[in-house]
């Protein structure tokens, strides 16, 4: 599949005028987002996610490296006609919702009847039709996020770049947005989704990337990533606990040992050879949250080998 979004070995440094200290927001960042996928972009605060998104939208310039969006360099204005963008903590002009969405639609080249119908459709998608004449300055944070989403989709873009789109939404609205994203994918659109809501990312994303301190630390399909980190709990009897590293003694002389998928077979053989009996083997698939915490919580070893 062709790449819709491509970051090629990008470095982004921020340096304030009159200050020597440089903050490296992205460090040799390489990533490809393919057509028709929902791509989850994860990372703790300050990891560089928003910087990467701002680079893609052409708001900031890379210090080194380059990026392509639909084959054109980041910042190419005409290409942005194919892109819908929702910023984190969206800030919009204070005017009635329908006029606001019309304004952003017009900036993307829509006019006349098409602009009117697309505006109405976008408001309907985010369930704000009944609030179309109300000034957005009176909107709640959740409603603002929904109107932000409406301005992002008003021109029916091929690529949606969403920075924390559901952070202020209630569960019902969150569900509606999730359904909208899935529907968008069914129509062949691409979605680049930055979110802290890991359960949501796990539910909808085809691939995820985890960013930490400006570096890509993991990339792949959620199922593959979680499976590769799966652990097994083996409960056995008739063996001495000191023969097994990390064994936990349970009532009745049983031991419980946790091993990775790769070590599972060796452990079972070791128990058999020692004359023990396997009582149970239980697989524990790790959650995305576990993986996220492991990758971003401590000393993270950078592994960009899987980068596509």
């Amino acid at each position: 599949m062709p790449a819709v979004l491509e970051f090629q070995d990008i470095i982004k440094d921020y340096r304030a005028i009159f200050r020597r200290r440089t903050v490296r927001a992205l460090d040799h960042f390489t990533l490809q987002v393919e057509e028709g996928e929902i791509f989850g972009f994860l990372g703790p605060n300050g990891a560089g996610k928003t910087t990467a998104i701002h680079l893609a939208m052409g708001f900031v310039q890379p210090t080194r490296g380059r990026g392509l969006m639909f084959g054109k360099r980041f910042g190419h204005a005409a290409t942005r006609r194919k892109v819908g963008f929702l910023a984190e903590n969206v800030a919009l002009y204070h005017r009635p919702a329908e006029k606001l969405v019309r304004f952003y639609g017009a900036l993307n080249g829509l006019s006349g009847e098409k602009l009117s119908s697309r505006t109405k459709a976008a408001l309907a998608v985010v369930n704000l039709t009944h609030e179309s004449t109300r000034n957005v300055s009176k909107f709640s944070r959740g409603m603002l996020q929904r109107i932000g989403l409406a301005q992002a989709i008003v021109h029916d873009p091929d690529l949606l770049i969403l920075d924390e789109p559901t952070s202020a939404l209630d569960p019902l609205a969150r569900y509606a947005v999730r359904e909208m994203l899935l529907d968008w994918r069914r129509r062949g659109k691409t979605i680049f989704l930055s979110s802290h809501l890991l359960s949501e990312v796990e539910l909808v994303c085809d691939r995820i990337a985890v960013l930490n301190q400006g570096r890509l630390v993991r990339l792949g399909r959620p199922a593959d990533l979680l499976e590769s980190h799966a652990t097994f709990e083996v409960v056995a009897s008739g063996v001495r606990p000191e023969a097994f590293a990390g064994a936990e003694v349970q009532p009745g002389g049983r031991i419980r040992v946790q091993v990775s998928k790769q070590d599972q077979r060796a452990l079972i053989e070791q128990i058999w050879l020692a004359g023990g009996q396997i009582m149970s083997v239980t697989g524990h698939k790790r959650s995305l949250e576990d993986l996220f915490l492991e990758l971003t919580g401590g000393n993270v070893e950078s592994s960009t080998q899987g980068t596509r």
Partner: protein
């Protein structure tokens, strides 16, 4: 054509966002004219002319204020992100802002000219020269806004206003001291001198090439502002 439409949308959006200061400026023209007409106009005709000149100066000051804060306000409020995520180039965006300031200045100059015709011409001020003076003020407003906009691409409004003042003031001082070709370099002084020296008896001073120089230099500054603006990071916060 599409690009022109986008520039127009940005300009009208600027007018809409700045509608209150623009309205205050327009109302000040109407209010002061009404006050002038309510007074004994014949005996106070010089006062009315002074007020007229004072309002013209306000127009230039407001143009610097509008030009100097236009980009900063958008960046600080982060509203620029939603706008720049659309299919608009940074140069077109900047053009829209300058056009917006130009439209605001144009409305102001038209109203000032209209009320001036109403208040000054019956007292003996030349109708044609009054509108010629309005052209001088409009040119000064556009030039000042272009300088302020250039600095506002990379500075905050205070710094932008300071550098705009210096940039417009230094050639003015040099033109005042030495005259000659200095009066065509950022010719705010030359334009405003014509405006401020106008009188009922001797209205006929010409701004010469200063008007044309102002428009050409405003265009150059617009180009330079665009050159800078496409190279800077418009997203404020480091992630």
């Amino acid at each position: 054509m599409k690009r022109l439409r986008l520039v127009g949308i940005i300009a009208l959006n600027f007018i809409r966002e700045q509608r209150w200061p623009i309205l205050v400026l327009q109302l000040s023209v109407l209010g002061l004219t009404a006050l002038g007409l309510l007074s004994d106009a014949r005996s106070d005709r010089d006062d009315i002319l002074i007020t007229f000149k004072q309002l013209g100066m306000y127009g230039v000051a407001f143009s610097i204020f509008f030009g100097g804060s236009a980009i900063y306000n958008e960046r600080r409020s982060r509203r620029i992100l939603a706008v720049m995520s659309k299919a608009i180039t940074r140069r077109d965006y900047l053009t829209g802002l300058l056009l917006g300031v130009g439209l605001a200045a144009g409305m102001f100059c038209f109203l000032l000219g209209f009320t001036g015709t109403w208040a000054l011409c019956p007292l003996g001020f030349s109708f044609f020269y009054l509108w010629y003076l309005m052209l001088c003020v409009l040119s000064a407003c556009i030039l000042s806004a272009a300088v302020a906009l250039f600095f506002s691409t990379h500075l905050n409004p205070w710094m932008s206003a300071m550098f705009t003042g210096l940039t417009l003031g230094i050639p003015g001082v040099l033109a005042f001291q030495f005259g000659g070709s200095w009066q065509y370099i950022l010719p705010l002084y030359s334009l405003m001198r014509v405006f401020l020296k106008a009188s009922y008896e001797h209205p006929g001073m010409s701004a010469g090439w200063a008007i044309q120089a102002a428009w050409i230099e405003a265009a150059l500054l617009w180009w330079a502002a665009g050159w800078v603006f496409v190279r800077i990071d418009v997203a404020v916060a480091v992630d």
